[in-house]
Structure formats: structure tokens, C-alpha cells
């Protein structure tokens, strides 16, 4: 118990003393996970919409694939991305291994199915006749889709929160493709693993507290947006 209090105190000291390395790691974590979430939204929202509204023979197959993707182990994603990005791999010439780019790619692969699956689910909960009603009022296809997104904004925001949550907290993929290089590819989760392996439990706890705080603040902002939408 003393260790936990020590860790919490250290977290406050680290943050408020403005430890540049901690701030750098925290902001870098936000940057990587934020970018991955944004890209996942760009992929997942149209894909989820297409699966929710489309009628084609293999639809169920693709939906089950998306649902399976939501349970992808991050370390497996890291391994696969590594295989592609290793110097001897098919994309080795890009020299993306052990760079933030590689981390963003891996985290996007983790978050995209989550965002897609929850977007699909959110849109499917809307009354299917709403689509016809909107078209019957003279909406173009894109106007109809935009209106449905607005209608499903609460579950769609939940999809963003879930996607962000999945990647800000993962360590396996970031470790494998990022390499946890100090000042370069170290994020909060990989830093926690490093400090724990050094026996620096208080520091590890402090970093955990910061990670939780970060996740909480981002989700607080998204929740505020979501509930503001609910109250309007």
C-alpha cells in the first residue's frame, strides 16, 4: 500500500515539476494514439457505414471479420507489422521500423476494427426506415449518410472512445514495432514496462497514474461532447 501512495506522490511531483522527459512521453503517447484513433475513424466510419447500410452477399462474412478483429491481440499485430517492416521484409526499404510511423500503423490496425464494429452497431440500432424517410424528404445519398451519423453521434463517439482506449493502453505492438527507444519511441505503456523491469516500482506506478489521468481526461472531453449531444 505504501508503494501505491509513493507512486501517486511521485506522479504528482513528476508532473508538476515539469519533468521534461515525462511530459515528452505523455505527449508522444497522446500523439501516437490520437493519430491512430483519427485514422481508424477515417477508415472505420465509412467501412462501418457501408456494412450497416449495404446489401451484398458477403456482408455477414465481413461483419464477422470485423468482430473478430476487435479481439486482435496487440502483440500479434505488432509481430505481423514487424515482419512487414523489418529490413528484410517487403516494406523494409521504407525504414519505418522502430519509428513513430510504425507505431501509428500498428495502433491503427488495433483500433480500426473496434471503431468499425461499434460504428456498425450504432448505425444498425437506428430505425431502418429512417433512411427511407430521409431519402423521401429529398436527401442525397451523402446527405442521408451525414444525417444518420448525426443521429448515431452518441454511439459513434463511444466508438472513438473505445478505439482510443484500446490503443492508449496497449503495450505489445508499441514495444515490438517501436522498440521503446528513449527520446524516440517510448510511450507511457512501454515506459511502465521498462521501469518495472528495472525494479523502479514507484516510477512505474507514477507513470501508470499519469496514463490513467491522460485516458480519463481524453474520455472526459469525449463524454462531455457525447452527453451534450444527448441533452440537446
Amino acid at each position: 500500500m505504501g508503494l501505491i501512495w509513493q507512486g501517486l506522490w511521485q506522479a504528482i511531483v513528476l508532473l508538476f515539476n515539469g519533468d521534461p522527459e515525462i511530459w515528452r512521453i505523455a505527449l508522444f503517447s497522446l500523439l501516437v494514439s490520437g493519430t491512430a484513433t483519427a485514422i481508424s475513424l477515417g477508415i472505420g466510419l465509412p467501412l462501418g457505414t457501408g456494412l450497416a447500410l449495404g446489401q451484398f452477399p458477403s456482408r455477414r462474412f465481413w461483419i464477422s471479420l470485423v468482430n473478430t478483429g476487435m479481439a486482435l491481440p496487440p502483440v500479434v499485430v505488432g509481430l505481423v507489422v514487424s515482419i512487414f517492416l523489418w529490413r528484410s521484409g517487403p516494406l523494409g526499404d521504407l525504414r519505418w521500423m522502430y519509428t513513430p510511423t510504425a507505431m501509428i500503423i500498428a495502433q491503427t490496425i488495433i483500433a480500426a476494427p473496434v471503431v468499425t464494429g461499434l460504428a456498425l452497431s450504432g448505425l444498425q440500432q437506428l430505425d431502418p426506415r429512417l433512411r427511407l424517410q430521409l431519402l423521401g424528404l429529398g436527401a442525397s445519398r451523402w446527405q442521408m449518410v451525414w444525417a444518420l451519423w448525426r443521429e448515431a453521434r452518441l454511439p459513434l463517439l463511444a466508438a472513438v472512445m473505445a478505439g482510443f482506449g484500446a490503443v492508449i493502453s496497449e503495450v505489445g505492438a508499441s514495444m515490438m514495432v517501436g522498440g521503446n527507444l528513449r527520446y524516440h519511441t517510448r510511450v507511457l505503456t512501454t515506459a511502465i514496462v521498462t521501469e518495472t523491469s528495472k525494479g523502479e516500482f514507484a516510477t512505474a506506478l507514477a507513470l501508470s497514474a499519469i496514463l490513467l489521468l491522460l485516458a480519463y481526461l481524453v474520455n472526459l472531453a469525449l463524454t462531455w461532447l457525447q452527453q451534450r449531444g444527448a441533452r440537446q
Partner: protein, 359 residues
């Protein structure tokens, strides 16, 4: 009046099953066409076909003389207003809901505001403009849904059972307001209903859809008093359909042999034809046995009461006269006559009350 919408040789299928098959239907400008039929008859599919929201296997729908394909689906849908069965309002204010179609068309903001306010006022819900649409009652939501379509100033208004989900008093109030609105605006309206009273009240013409086909179309009087076949007759509330054969025909009055009875009806069907004699329950008068006076009713039958069912202030009485005869009397008459299963009564109806359909 010119034809504004026309269907030609339309077939809509779901899988391999034909859900709508219409050879020809012409809708005239400014008319109110009520489409009636039982559940699953294809009424909603007809509306979706007229809205270009369902792809037919064959056939075409024309708008103002040109196929919709030449107008373009979107351009055509921006000339109509569709109201589906439930209000289907979006999760935003009433004002934004009513403005939705206008904004889809890219109308300038001042015009949108003016039209929305006008129609909120006309539907009696101006005070609800800022309210969240999902907090409205059923009647208020349906008014908002109608305002949303009417604000578009459509060439054609398509309504799918707009009043079916409402309780009786709300429905009555909204029906009255809606009737006044379509009279004053003279918008061409096609509305689907399974409620015959609504069709009678609002429709200038009534179309009967049965099993996906257009069984009859005509004025309310034609459809309700002169159904073309037994199926239509049954649906429009002609509860007594007596099979028989014409034995005599004299100056527009025929004698029909129906079991042990000879019934008279006004018709030009020649002798030898097998026919159905259709009678509406309100055209049957009941008498206690032995009390039938001399009157203009040429048909008198004796029978036994099988069933008496209260229907509000009325009572539906089923008699067994050798065939089943359905009469509608007031509840007080039913009480005075002590009508109950087994009671022997006499029934009469005029020759002019029956409608003869050839088999």
C-alpha cells in the same frame, strides 16, 4: 385534370414473390387518392415505388408525362414529400426536423425559417419549435412529421398510414386539421390506410389493393357501394355476400334464387348468370317475427340470431337465414328486441340496397 403520376406495367418482387403488380394507375393533379387494403397487400410498396425508393423488376413510373429515369431519382424526390407510418423524427429540435428537407435542397436560411414557422403554425405546434422532437407526444410528433413534408411545397404528397398509431381523439383532431389543409392547398395526395373511414373522409378516389394487385379504383361511392368482386366487397365492409343465380330480369329488377329464397335486386344481369348479391349491414332492417309491416322493402327473410357483438353505440347481429346475413342495429334496439343467440327474427332490405356482382 391532368395526370401527374402514372404507373405502367409495374412489377415489384421480393425474392421471387411478386409483392406489387399494377398494369396501369393514373393519379390526377390535385386529387386525393386513398389506397386501401389489408396488411401485406402492397400498399407501402406502392408508396415506395411512387417515391422511387424501391427498384421494380419491370415497368415504369412517370411524373408529369416523363419517366422518372429522365428526371433523375434525386431531382424527382425533391418534387415530392414522403411521410412514413411512424413520425421518424430525428434527435434534434422540432424546428430542425421540419427544416430538414428544405436544408437538403439548399434553400437559403431566411426562406427555411419562414416556411418552417408557417407550417408549424398551420399544424398548431408553433410553441414546440425549440422542443426536442423525441419528447413530443404521438399526435404532436405526427403533426411535426406532416409539417416537415408540407413545408417542402411538394407537387405530390405521399403518406403511409399517417394516423394509424394515434389514439382515437388525437386521430380525429389531426384528421380534421389535415382534411382542411389538403383542401386549402389542393396538393395532389396519395395516402395509404387500412381504415375505411379515413378513405371515405379524405379520398376523392379510392383504390383497393389486394395481394399486390389493383382490384378496384373509383369514387368512394363506387368502391363502397358497388364493389367489383367478392374480395373487394368483403374488404370494404360488405359483410353479406349471397351466392345465387338470376332467374328473372324485368325492367332493371332481377330475381335471384339463393337457396330457399328468391331475392330481388336492381341490376341488368340477364337470367342464367351466377351472381353474388352484396349487402351492407346498415341496409338490413330487423323485425320481431310476425311484425313486418307493408313497406317498400321487397325482400323479407326469416332467420335466427347466431351472434350479437356490441360495436360502440351499435350492435352487429349475425343471422342464419339459410345463409349468414349481417345487420347493424343500435344497441338500444338490440336491447328492446332482446336480440340474443337463438331469437327468431325477420329481416328486410330494399331491392335497391343490394349490389349484384357477376361471378
Amino acid at each position: 385534370m391532368s395526370v401527374i403520376l402514372e404507373i405502367q406495367d409495374l412489377l415489384v418482387q421480393r425474392g421471387r414473390r411478386a409483392v406489387l403488380e399494377i398494369e396501369h394507375l393514373a393519379i390526377e393533379e390535385n386529387e386525393v387518392l386513398a389506397v386501401i387494403g389489408p396488411n401485406g397487400a402492397g400498399k407501402s410498396t406502392l408508396l415506395l415505388a411512387l417515391s422511387c425508393l424501391v427498384k421494380p423488376e419491370r415497368g415504369q413510373v412517370s411524373f408529369r408525362g416523363q419517366p422518372i429515369s429522365s428526371w433523375g431519382d434525386l431531382a424527382y424526390r425533391r418534387r415530392i414529400g414522403l411521410v412514413l407510418q411512424d413520425p421518424l423524427l430525428m434527435d434534434t429540435s422540432v424546428f430542425n426536423n421540419v427544416a430538414a428537407g428544405l436544408r437538403f435542397r439548399g434553400l437559403p436560411r431566411p426562406l427555411v425559417t419562414e416556411r418552417v414557422n408557417t407550417w408549424l403554425e398551420r399544424l398548431g405546434i408553433a410553441s414546440l419549435a425549440r422542443r426536442r422532437a423525441h419528447s413530443l407526444s404521438g399526435g404532436e410528433a405526427q403533426r411535426a412529421s406532416l409539417a416537415r413534408a408540407l413545408a417542402l411545397d411538394p407537387d405530390v404528397l405521399l403518406l403511409d398510414e399517417p394516423f394509424s398509431a394515434l389514439d382515437a381523439p388525437t386521430r380525429a383532431s389531426l384528421l380534421e386539421d389535415f382534411q382542411a389543409l389538403i383542401k386549402s392547398t389542393a396538393i395532389t395526395t396519395v395516402f395509404v390506410t387500412h381504415d375505411l373511414d379515413e378513405a371515405l373522409l379524405l379520398g376523392s378516389r379510392v383504390a383497393v389493393l389486394l395481394d399486390g394487385r389493383l382490384a378496384q379504383i373509383g369514387s368512394p361511392a363506387e368502391v363502397f357501394n358497388a364493389p367489383l368482386d367478392a374480395e373487394v366487397a368483403h374488404f370494404v365492409g360488405v359483410e353479406t355476400v349471397i351466392p345465387g343465380k338470376v332467374t328473372e330480369s324485368n325492367n332493371g329488377l332481377v330475381t335471384i334464387e339463393a337457396g330457399n329464397f328468391y331475392l330481388e335486386a336492381v341490376s341488368e344481369v340477364p337470367p342464367g348468370h351466377v351472381v353474388y348479391l352484396c349487402l351492407r349491414p346498415e341496409d338490413i332492417t330487423l323485425w320481431l317475427d310476425g311484425e313486418v309491416p307493408i313497406s317498400s322493402a321487397r325482400n323479407r327473410l326469416n332467420g335466427q340470431v347466431v351472434k350479437v357483438t356490441p360495436q360502440g353505440p351499435l350492435a352487429r347481429v349475425v343471422l342464419d337465414c339459410g345463409f349468414l346475413l349481417v345487420a347493424l342495429v343500435t344497441r338500444s334496439s338490440a336491447a328492446e328486441m332482446r336480440l340474443r343467440p337463438g331469437r327468431e327474427v325477420a329481416a328486410s332490405f330494399k331491392a335497391s340496397a343490394g349490389h349484384v356482382i357477376t361471378h
